[in-house]
Amino acid sequence: MTKDKMSFQATAGTAGLFVVAAALRLLLFTAFPGLPNLLTGRVEISTPVTSFKRLQEGLFLYNHNVNPYDGGVYHQAPLLLPLFSLLPDPSTYPIFTYILYTLVDLLSANALYKIAESGEGGASRLYSSPRKEKRWNGYVVAALFLFNPFTIATCIGRPTSVFTTCAILHAVAKALSGNIFTSMLSLSFATYLSMYPLLLLPPMVILAYDRTYNPKVPKSLAQLAGMCTLAVSASLALLFLSSYALTGSWEFLSSTYGIQLTLTDLTPNAGLWWYFFTEMFDSFRSFFLGVFWLHLSSYTPALTIRLRQQPLAVITLLLGIFAIFKPYPSIADTSLFLSLVPCFRHVFPLLRYSFVTASVVLYGTFLGPAFYHLWIYAGSGNANFFYAITLVWSLGLSLIVSDLAFAVLRDEWEVERPEMRGKEIRQI
C-alpha cells in the first residue's frame, strides 16, 4: 500500500501540491484582508532591511523622482524598486503583489524539490551515508516548505527576504544540476539583495565542483574557485553599476549594506544584535560590530573544511547559523533553514534533542509575540521581556543547528567505525 502511494505521488508530480499551496496563500490573502498588513508590521517578520512597509515608502519616493534613500527609512536594494513599480499600486490592487509573492514561494519550492530529488543530502561525490535509503522525496520536502507556518506567515507579511530565499535555493539547485554559472549568478542576486549570502560562496563552489567532477578529466578545485569568484564579482559589479545608473549615486551602498554593517537602525527583531548595541558603550560600538561580523563569518571556512565531503550540509548549517547570528534576522531566515533540514532525513534518528528543540522553538514562537505586546502595547513589560524570548528562540535554533551538525558528523564517523553503530558515545 505504501508503495502504491509513493508511486501515485511521483506521477501526480508537484502540480497538485503547488496549486493547493497557492490556493491556501491566496485564500489567506483574500479571506482576511487585514492579515497582510498585520503581519507586515510584526517585527518577527519584517526587519528594517526587508520590510514591505519600508519598501512602499521607498517606492513612493522613487515614483516621485526623489532619492529613495532620503529620509532614512528604505534600506533595501535599489533594483527592487523598478520591479515593484511595474506592479499596480499595492494599496489599491493588492492582488498583484499577492500573486507575485505566491509565485516566488512556488519557485523556491520548485528549487527545493530539485534539491531533495538530487539525493545530495545522503550521498555526495566523496561520501555516501549508510542510511541514505531512508530519505524523503522532493514532494515531501517541498510540501514541508510550502506548508510550514513560518513560510506562510513570511509570504503573507511580504518582506523582500523571500527573494533572497528564492535566489539561494536556486543557487543550490543549479549547482546541483551542474549549471555553475547560473548558480553563481543566482548567488550574486542573493548577495546583492541581502549581502550575507556571499559567505555561502566557498561551500557553493565545492558543491558545484563535486557535482561537475569528471574522474576522466579532473579539473582543479582552485581553478574552479577562481572562475566562480570571478563570475560572482562580475555579476555583482554589473548589479551595482545598474543600481548606480538607476539611483544616480553610490549612496545606496551605505544605505543598504552600510546599515547592515553598522546596525544604525536598532528596531527590535528576533535576533541578538539590537539589544547588545542599544546597551553598548559608544566608544566600543565599532569594535563590537567588527567582532559580531567576524564571529558570523568565521564559521564558513571552518565548516567548509570540516564537512568537505558534504557541501550541502555545510550550506544548511551555515543558513541555520545566519538565522541566529545575522544582524537583522527574521522568521524568513528560519524557514529557509528549516526547509533544507528535511534533506537530511537519514540522520534524523541520530538527533538527540528533537523533543527539546521542538518545544523550545514552539515556546519562542508563542511567547515572542506575547512579550512583544506586553512591552510595546500594554506597557507592563520592558525590552528585557522581548529580548529574553529572542534569546530562547535563538537557543532553540542553535540547538537544532548543533544537533544537526552532531548527527551529520556521527553519521560520517560510523562509516569509519562501523562497530560503534547505535552505541552511546562520549566526547574526549
Binding site: F287, V291, S298, A302, I305, R306, E412, K423
Partner: protein
Amino acid sequence: MSADIKNDGDPKPSSAEATVSLPATGIAIVERKEPPPEKESDTRRRSWIVLSFWLIAVFIGLPIWWNTTTIYRANLPLTQMTDWADGKACEPVFPLRIALDVGSLPEQEAQNLLRLTQHALDDLNDFSGHHLRLQLAQAPTEATTQVRDDSNVALTIRLAPGDAAHTASSSLHPHLPILDVQYPPNSLPTANSPSSGLATYIATQLGSTFAEEQNIISYLLETSSITPEHRPKGISQEVVDTVSKRMTRSLKYSQTYHLTFSLFTNGPVPSSWDIEAAIDEYMKPVLDMLKTIHDFTIDTQVQLYASPGVQSHVLGKEDLSSFINAAEWPLSPSIGGAPTVNFIVYIGNQTIGVPSETDAAETSQSWMIPQWGSVYLLAPPPAEAAHVSSETLKQPILTFTSHLLTLLGTPQSGSVPLRLSTLARIRSADLLLRASSSLGSLARLTLALPSISIPSNVANGVVKTIHHLELACASLGGAKSLEHARIAEHEAERAFFEKSMVGQLYFPDEHKIAVYLPLLGPIGVPLVMGLLNEIKAWKTRRSQKLKAA
C-alpha cells in the same frame, strides 16, 4: 559551537567498557578499551580548522581591534592653555583713554592741566586693572566729530570757563560720552604749581564716573580662575556682595536675545494692542544703541482669559514670584540658540501691595524677575475697549526698556552712552575670563584622563580660541575686543563640550575589563584552548618522530 564540531569529529573514545569478572572475588573490574589511533588526515584537518579560526582572528580581528579602539589624542598646547587660565598670558588691564578738550586754552596751560590731572588720577586710582589715560583732544574744534572718529576714546571732557566764581561744576551729556566741566576762570593751575584744585576735581569726577565699572571688573577678576598673584588688588567684601547681587540678576551673555512681548488679559477684552508701534517708538532707540553688543529678535502674543498663578487682588511680596502661571501661559523657554527675555503685560484688577523701595525703576505696577524678564500690571481699560493703544503702552514699554538694560547687566550709573560702552567692556572682560577658564578646565581634564580621546576638532577649537583670546587681549577696551572675546568663548565651550569626549568622561579603565571579558571570553577560551592542544599534539608527534629516528 566550533569547538563542538571539531571535537565531535575526533574519533570517539569508546565508552563501551569491557567488564571482566573475577571469579574468585566476584568483584567486577572495569577496564577501559583504548580508542584506535587518530588518522593522519583527521589530525591535519583539525589543524587546518584551528588555523582558519586563528587566521581570521589575527589578520582581520586584530586590525579591527586596533583601528576601532586606539585612542586618538590630538596635541593640545597645554602650557599655553593653563597660562591663559592662570592669567599669565594676558594682563587684564583696560586702558581707557580720556580726551581733554580744553577749548580755547593755550597749549602750554592745557599741557600743564593735563599733567596735573593725570597725576591726581594716578594718586586716586589704586586699581591696576583699570587705567585712565588722559590725552588732549587732537583737534580742538567740534568735540562731537572727534568722538565719532576715534572710538577708542571712552570719554571726552569738555572744559569751559563758567560763571561761578569759586566752585567747578560738571554734568554728563545725556546722549554723548561727554563730561562737561565748567570751571571758575581763576582756578587754572599756574605753570609751576604742584597741584591744582581743578585737576583734583576732574580726577575725582572721573573716578566716580568709572567707579562702578571698576568694581564690576575687579569682581569678575576675583571670581575668575586667575591665580591671586596675577590678579590686581582685591575689592572689599561689601562691594563684592552688591556686584554679585546685580550680576546674578542679569542674563548670561549671548550675541542674540529673543524678546517676547505677551499680553495676558483675564477676560475677553482687550484682544489687540498696538505693540509694534509702541516698541518702535519707545524701545527701538535703546535697542539700536545696543546693536553693537547684542542683536534682538522680537515676537509678540496675546492670550485671553489667562488666569495668573495667584488669585488674590492685592499681591504681596511672596506672591510676585508665583504670579507667572508657567503651566498654562504659553511662555516658551529658549528654543534655538538665543535666550528668551519675557515681557508680560497683564490686564486685570490686581495691584501690588508692597511698593518696592529698593529700586527706583520699579513702579508699583511692575517687577523684574531675575534672568527671566519682567511683568507689568495694567488696569483694565475703562469702556471695555478691545484695543490697547500705543499711548497706554508707553509706560510699560519704558519700564521694560529699563528692565532690559538691567537684565543685560548694564551698570546703573552714568549717562546711557557711557553705560553701554561700559557694558561692552564688562562683557568682553567676562567672556575673556570665561574662555580662559574653559581652556584651563580642558587642559586639566586632558591631564587627568589619559584614556580620553581628543578629536582633532577640539584641537582646532583650542587653537582658534587662543588666537582670538590674543586678539581680544591686545585690543582690550577697544571695539574689536568684544567680538574676539565672543568667538573665543564660543570656541572654547564647543571644544570643552565635544560630544565624543563628554561620553568618555565617566569611563574608567576598569570598565574595559567588564566590556572585554564577558563578551570576548566565550570566544577567546576555545580559540586559545584549540591552539594549545594543537601545539601539544605537535610536540608529541615530534618527540615520537625523534624517538623513531
